[in-house]
Amino acid sequence: MSSFGTAPLKEVWEMLNACAPGWTKTETDHHYCVKWKGRTYPSLSKGKHGKRAGAGEVQVGQIRQLARQFGIVECAKKHLNVLQ
């Protein structure tokens, strides 16, 4: 799958629920800052569509980098088809 494809933020949150239990997120002025087990991904895009939380789409390249940062790549692939 191309890194230029997208997935809904809602599916990213569901993937994190499955692969990074206990993860947290805060919405900053520019991004979502996602944390888990002492690791931080502070630059997740809020998405291109709408301001409603979770309504946006995130590019696969960002999701892949997030999964790498948290060391959950294999689990993330099982829960998000766009990563395969």
Binding site: S2, T40, Q65, Q69, G71
Partner: protein, 156 residues
């Protein structure tokens, strides 16, 4: 996918609560070329990735994203020291899987099998770090005025 190991440096300023911070970032990133365009994935700092139709465009987006993270940290930090601590922690968090791919690409550059036209080679041993200092208004001088100072090189 073609991958290239990058070293980058740039300087800028961040306004926080009652202070102005100047920083110079010396980081590492992995550039990946796909059919639709380019991605730049952070190695150090590892917590960001951005894309563009060309490598320069992707790098500009990457740099903007890094700067926005620093803006967010400045908005949360109560003072300069808290900002410097948070920014340094963010910058020093290495993305290990991306670093492994960066090292593999760097080996190809060293073997002469990989290069980027128009981008000079830079020794990968040069330390990757962020330097942050507080600029107080009374200490500002014309020497503090500078155009964007940045460098981009292929790690060798």
């Amino acid at each position: 996918m073609e991958q290239y190991p990058l070293l980058f440096s740039f300087s800028d300023k961040v306004a926080g609560k009652g202070y102005l911070a100047a920083f110079t970032a010396h980081g590492a990133a992995l550039a990946g070329k796909e059919e639709e365009g380019w991605w730049v994935y952070g190695v150090k700092p590892g917590g960001l990735a951005e894309s563009g139709t060309t490598l320069p465009e992707a790098y500009v987006e990457f740099r903007k994203s890094l700067l926005k993270v620093l803006f967010d940290l400045a908005a949360e930090a109560p003072d300069f020291y808290a900002f410097r601590r948070a920014a340094t922690e963010f910058f020093n968090e290495v993305n290990e899987p991306t670093r492994a791919e960066w090292e593999a690409a760097r080996a190809l550059v060293r073997q002469g099998k990989l290069g980027l036209e128009g981008i000079r080679r830079e020794p990968a041993e040069s330390p990757r770090r962020i330097e942050i200092k507080e600029l107080q208004t009374i200490a500002l001088t014309p020497e503090d005025n500078r155009l964007e100072d940045e460098e981009l090189g292929v790690a060798a």
